[in-house]
C-alpha cells in the first residue's frame, strides 16, 4: 500500500523487537467474539488513476456547465489562484491545531490576522478564530447570550436563514428556551413593531440577519435600541460578509456572527465553510471557540499562542463555553489570504461590482414584467416574483443552463412563485440578459394568456 512507509522487513524487525511472532499477537487481548474476521465490503484497492477516474465521473454529474444564481447562504465568488496555492502548502494544511506554539507560529499569526480582519469588518472589538459555519456560529452566539443574560427567551427574525433557525432549535430544545419569530414587512425587513411587542425582560437575545435571507438590508439602530432597552443582547448574523465592504457594519450589535465562506472558500456542496463570531471585549470570556493572543518569548520577541483556553472543553470539560474542538482553521486561513489579496480597495470594488450587477438584474427583470416584492435596498441578492409559475421559470432557465434562484416556497409557503436570486461577479451581463429574456417570454405569454411550452428533453423539477 503506497501510503505505508514500513517495508515487510521493517515490520518483521519490529515484531522481533517486541518478541512477537505475528502481527495477530498484537491483537490477542481483543476477545474473539468481538473480532471482525470478514472482509469489509468496500471499494478498492484502487490505483490513483482509478480514483481520479471515479471522481471525474462523479464531477461530471454536476452543474459545472451552468451559470449559478443561487446564494442563500452559499455564495459563488471568484477565488484568486493565490488562495489555493498558499493553502496547499503542506506546512499549513497538514498541521494540527497549534497547541505547540513554537512550532506553529505560522498558523497562529495567520489566525491572529483573521481575528483582526473579522473585527475590522464587523466593527466589533474581538473575533474568535472560527466556528463550524454560519448556522452554528449564530447558535453559539445565542447560547452565549443565554449565558450572559441568564435569560431563556430568544427573538429571531423570520428572515434569518431557515436552516440557521433549524440548527438553533436543535441546540436549545432541551433547555426549554422559548423562540419567538418576528415577521417581515412589505419592505422585506424586520417588522419593528412586532419586535417591540415581542420583547420583554425575559428576552436574552434578538437575532437579526443582514442582508437578510431575502437579501434586504436591515436597519440596526432602532432594533438595537429596542433590544438593549429590554436588557437583551443583539446578535447580528451575516451570511454574505462581502456586503460589509460597502454596508455599514452592525456596530450596535453585541455579537456579530455568521458565515465567511464568501471569502475564498469554495461552495463545495455546502461545506466545509467557516463560521465566525465577533463581539465586545467585555464578553470575551464567554466566547466560544479558539482565540489566538499575542505574547512574548523568553527574549521578548513577539509571538502568538492559543489563549483564554480555560473557556474551552479540553481544560474546562463540562463547564466549557462550547464543546467545539476542531474548528475550521484552514477555511479561516483561506479567508485571511483572500481578504489580504483583495484588501481595502479590492474588497470594496468587488462589493460594488456585485451590487451593480444585482441592481442591473433586478431592474431588467422589472422591465421584463417580473416584480420585486420587497422595497428595501439589497446587496447582491433579491427576491423576484415570477411572471408565471416559479417552477416553470426555473425549468426553462435550466434549459438555458442557468440555475435561476432558490424557490422560496420551500421555506416560506406564503411566497409561492417567488425566487431568491443572487448575482455575483461570476454571473456575466450576458447571462443576466439571457435570464431576462426567459422572464420576458413568460410575461408575454402571461399577457397573451398562453401556457409555457414544455422545454424539450427536460423532466419536471
Amino acid at each position: 500500500m503506497r501510503y505505508l512507509p514500513n517495508s515487510p522487513r521493517d515490520r518483521e524487525e519490529m515484531l522481533r523487537a517486541l518478541g512477537r511472532s505475528s502481527i495477530e499477537e498484537l491483537f490477542s487481548q481483543i476477545p474473539e467474539e468481538v473480532r471482525f474476521r470478514g472482509r469489509m465490503n468496500l471499494p478498492g484497492p484502487l490505483s490513483e488513476q482509478q480514483i481520479l477516474e471515479f471522481f471525474k465521473e462523479a464531477a461530471s454529474q454536476s452543474t459545472r456547465e451552468y451559470v449559478s444564481m443561487l446564494g442563500a447562504g452559499a455564495y459563488s465568488h471568484f477565488r484568486p489562484a493565490a488562495v489555493d496555492a498558499l493553502l496547499s502548502r503542506g506546512e499549513f494544511f497538514t498541521a494540527y491545531t497549534p497547541y505547540q506554539a513554537e512550532l506553529a507560529q505560522g498558523t497562529l499569526q495567520a489566525m491572529f490576522e483573521f481575528q483582526t480582519l473579522m473585527a475590522q469588518l464587523t466593527g466589533m472589538e474581538v473575533s474568535n478564530a472560527s466556528l463550524y459555519d454560519g448556522s452554528t456560529a449564530t447558535t453559539e452566539a445565542v447560547l452565549m447570550a443565554l449565558r450572559l443574560t441568564r435569560r431563556n427567551r430568544v427573538i429571531v427574525a423570520k428572515t434569518l436563514h431557515p436552516e440557521y433557525r433549524e440548527v438553533m432549535a436543535t441546540y436549545v430544545r432541551h433547555m426549554g428556551t422559548e423562540i419567538v419569530e418576528v415577521p417581515y414587512t412589505a419592505s422585506g425587513q424586520l417588522e419593528i413593531r412586532a419586535l417591540e411587542s415581542a420583547l420583554n425582560n425575559e428576552t436574552a437575545a434578538v437575532v437579526v440577519q443582514s442582508p437578510n435571507f431575502f437579501g434586504t438590508i436591515e436597519r440596526f439602530s432602532e432594533i438595537a435600541e429596542l433590544t438593549h432597552r429590554s436588557g437583551a443582547l443583539l446578535v447580528a448574523t451575516v451570511t454574505e460578509p462581502l456586503s460589509l465592504a460597502i454596508i455599514k457594519p452592525p456596530e450596535q450589535a453585541d455579537i456579530v456572527c455568521g458565515e465567511a465562506q464568501s471569502f475564498g472558500v469554495p461552495v463545495a456542496y455546502g461545506g466545509p465553510y467557516v463560521g465566525f463570531l465577533a463581539t465586545r471585549e467585555k464578553y470575551v470570556r464567554q466566547m466560544p471557540g479558539r482565540l489566538v493572543g499575542q505574547t512574548v518569548d523568553t527574549e521578548g520577541r513577539r509571538g502568538f499562542v492559543l489563549t483564554l483556553v480555560t473557556r474551552e472543553q479540553h481544560i474546562r470539560r463540562e463547564k466549557a463555553t462550547s464543546n467545539i474542538c476542531t474548528n475550521q482553521s484552514l477555511c479561516a486561513l483561506a479567508a485571511t489570504i483572500y481578504l489580504c489579496l483583495l484588501g481595502k480597495q479590492g474588497l470594496k470594488a468587488l462589493a460594488e461590482h456585485n451590487l451593480a450587477m444585482a441592481h442591473y438584474a433586478a431592474q431588467r427583470l422589472v422591465a421584463a414584467g417580473a416584480s420585486i416584492p420587497f422595497s428595501a435596498p439589497c446587496f447582491n441578492e433579491f427576491v423576484v416574483r415570477t411572471p408565471g409559475s416559479a417552477e416553470e421559470v426555473l425549468l426553462e432557465l435550466r434549459g438555458e443552463k442557468i440555475l435561476g434562484g432558490v424557490n422560496l416556497a420551500r421555506f416560506y409557503p406564503e411566497l409561492k412563485d417567488h425566487l431568491l436570486v443572487c448575482i455575483t461577479e461570476t454571473v456575466s451581463k450576458e447571462a443576466v440578459d439571457r435570464m431576462v429574456r426567459v422572464y420576458e417570454g413568460f410575461a408575454n405569454r402571461k399577457k397573451a394568456g398562453v401556457a409555457a411550452p414544455h422545454p424539450v428533453g427536460q423532466e419536471k423539477a
Partner: protein, 495 residues
C-alpha cells in the same frame, strides 16, 4: 547551548511582520474588471444610512506580498509533511495528495447545495458512498455526514439517545463519562442538556464494571465510551459493559476518535455500541488544516436511524440519489446544508485507495508502531498502565518530574530534535501524561530516530535538568509566555 541534535538543523527564515504592518495605501492584490452594466454609485444605491465608505485598518498589499507573507509564515509551522507528528489522540497520518486533487475537481468543488438534486447526482453519490463505507467499517446501519467535527458528532449522538429514550418514555438525566475521556465528551454532554457523571477507571485504566454497575441507575441515559480508550487500551470487557448499560435501559455512545486502532479488526456495532462518531480528519486522512475543517459523521444502529440529523441522502430504486427531509423523528439539523462535503470526498478517496486489505494493513501498522515505541521507551519513561496498547501509548514524566522536568518540558526539548511533541494535556488520569500516537505513517527508521531522541532527552534530564527546562533552543521564537497572554489578552492588531 549544546550541539544541535542529529536530525535537525536550524536554517535561515525570513522574519515577517503582521500583514497590517506591511500595508501601504493604494496597493491591491487583485485587479477587477469594471462591470459591463450601467452602474449607479454604491453610495447612491445604498443611501447614506447604509453606505460604508471604508474598512478602517484593512490591509493594502500586492499579490506578491501576500504570497511572501504566507509562505514565510508557513515555514514556521511543523506539519505531517515535515515529519513525525506523534500527537496522541490526534491520528496525524499522511494526507494523500490525490485527495486534494479530487476534492478540487470542478463540479465537486463548485456545486451549490440548493442546486436541483437531479443535477447534482455526483455530489450526492459521494455522500451516499462515503456513508455506506463508514457503515460497513463500523458495522452500523446508518450514517449521517452532517456533523462538522467530532464534538458535533458527539452532540448529535447524545441528542439521538435523548430523543430515543424520550420516545421510550423518559430521556433520563445523566450520561456516564469515564475520567479518562477527552474534554469534548463531557462538554458535549452538557451541551445536549444532560449532566455528566464521571466514572472512575480501574487499575488497568479501563471501565470498572463494579463502578459502572453502581453508577448505571435509571436516571442514567447511557455511557459515553472511548474504545480503545485514551490510554490506547482496548476495553476487553466491552461486551459486558454494553450489555450492562443496555440491561439498565441505557444506550452506549462510542467516541470513535480512536478508530484507527480498529478498522478491519473489530466493529463497534458488533461489540454493542449503539451510536458513535468518526473523525474523518483522524482515521480517514482528511488533513487537519491547522485545526480543521474536520468532519464527524455519526453512525447508528437501525433503531436510532429515525433520529439522525435531517436531511439524509437516499438512493432511490432507479439508482438515483436524493435528499430525504421527511423525517419526523429526526433530532433536526445540527448545521446548515449537508456537512463538510469536501471532507467526505477525501475520506472516500482514501477508503477506495486502500480497500479492505489496505485498511487492515494500516491498522496493523498503526498498532505495531505504537507497541514498538512503548516497549522501547518504557525503561526510561514511566509506563503507568503496563498493558498491550493499540494505536497509541501513554507514558508519564514521573521519573523526570523528580528532577523538576515535566512532560511539557520534555515535549519542548523534543522540538530541538526535529520532532513534533506528543500530547501532554490528557488523559487526566495520568499525571504528567506523554501520549504518543505514531500512526501507521511512521517508518521504523523515523521511529528509531524518535526513540533515540526521547532516550537522549531522558539522559539530558539526568545530566542537566536546567538545560531541558529552557528548551526549545532552535526555533525562531523561544518558549512563549502563555500566562501573560491570558492575563491581558491582545486578540487583534491595532494601529
Amino acid at each position: 547551548m549544546k550541539e544541535h541534535p542529529r536530525h535537525a538543523r536550524p536554517h535561515i527564515t525570513r522574519d515577517e511582520n503582521l500583514i497590517f504592518e506591511r500595508s501601504s495605501p493604494g496597493k491591491c492584490g487583485v485587479d477587477l474588471p469594471t462591470p459591463d452594466v450601467p452602474t449607479a454609485s454604491a453610495a447612491d444605491l445604498l443611501g447614506s444610512e447604509f453606505y460604508r465608505d471604508e474598512i478602517a485598518g484593512f490591509p493594502e498589499v500586492s499579490e506578491l506580498e501576500v504570497i511572501r507573507h504566507f509562505t514565510r509564515l508557513s515555514t514556521w509551522n511543523y506539519s505531517v509533511d515535515t515529519g513525525l507528528y506523534p500527537l496522541g489522540s490526534c491520528t496525524m497520518k499522511y494526507n494523500p495528495r490525490i485527495n486534494e486533487v479530487v476534492a478540487r475537481l470542478e463540479g465537486l468543488a463548485t456545486d451549490h447545495p440548493y442546486a436541483p438534486t437531479e443535477l447534482t447526482q455526483g455530489c450526492l453519490r459521494v455522500l451516499h458512498d462515503t456513508a455506506r463505507c463508514l457503515a460497513e467499517i463500523t458495522g452500523m446501519d446508518a450514517v449521517s455526514l452532517q456533523p462538522a467535527a467530532g464534538a458535533q458528532g458527539e452532540l448529535s449522538g447524545i441528542l439521538m439517545i435523548q430523543a430515543c429514550l424520550a420516545d421510550r418514555g423518559n430521556p433520563r438525566k445523566y450520561i456516564l463519562v469515564p475520567d479518562s475521556a477527552h474534554g469534548t465528551n463531557p462538554a458535549s454532554v452538557t451541551t445536549s442538556g444532560y449532566q455528566v457523571r464521571n466514572l472512575k477507571s480501574d487499575s488497568h485504566g479501563c471501565v470498572d464494571l463494579g463502578e459502572l454497575e453502581l453508577a448505571m441507575t435509571d436516571e442514567v441515559a447511557g455511557l459515553m465510551l472511548t474504545n480503545p480508550n485514551t490510554l490506547g487500551i482496548f476495553e476487553v470487557r466491552i461486551r459486558e459493559i454494553c450489555e450492562l448499560v443496555h440491561r439498565k435501559g441505557g444506550l452506549v455512545y462510542m467516541d470513535g476518535a480512536n478508530m484507527n486502532a480498529l478498522v478491519g479488526i473489530a466493529r463497534p456495532a458488533d461489540f454493542g455500541a449503539d451510536v458513535m462518531h468518526l473523525n474523518l480528519h483522524k482515521t480517514f486522512t482528511t488533513p487537519h488544516g491547522g485545526g480543521g475543517p474536520g468532519s464527524g459523521p455519526v453512525a447508528v444502529r437501525k433503531f436510532l436511524e429515525p433520529y439522525l440529523p435531517s436531511p439524509i441522502v437516499v438512493k432511490k430504486e432507479d439508482g438515483s440519489y436524493s435528499l430525504d427531509y421527511n423525517r419526523p423523528k429526526s433530532i433536526g439539523r445540527v448545521r446548515a446544508f449537508y456537512g463538510n462535503f469536501g471532507m467526505a470526498v477525501r475520506a472516500l478517496a482514501y477508503i477506495a485507495a486502500n480497500g479492505s486489505e489496505g485498511l487492515l494493513q494500516t491498522t496493523q501498522d498503526a498498532v505495531l508502531n505504537a507497541n514498538y515505541v512503548m516497549r522501547r521507551l518504557q525503561d526510561v519513561y514511566d509506563l503507568p498502565y503496563n498493558e498491550p496498547c493499540m494505536h497509541e501509548c501513554v507514558l508519564s514524566d514521573r521519573r523526570q518530574a523528580a528532577r523538576g522536568v515535566r512532560t511539557m518540558d520534555i515535549a519542548k526539548r523534543l522540538i530541538d530534535y526535529g520532532f513534533h511533541p506528543y500530547t501532554t494535556a490528557f488523559p487526566l488520569i495520568v499525571p504528567g501524561a506523554m501520549m504518543i500516537e505514531p500512526t501507521e505513517s511512521a517508518s521504523k527508521e523515523e521511529l528509531d530516530e524518535f526513540i533515540e531522541a526521547m532516550r537522549a532527552i531522558a539522559e539530558e534530564v539526568e545530566e542537566d535538568a536546567e538545560f531541558v527546562l529552557k528548551a526549545p533552543y532552535t526555533t525562531r521564537v523561544s518558549r512563549l509566555d502563555e500566562a501573560a497572554a491570558a492575563r491581558k489578552p491582545v486578540l487583534r492588531w491595532k494601529p
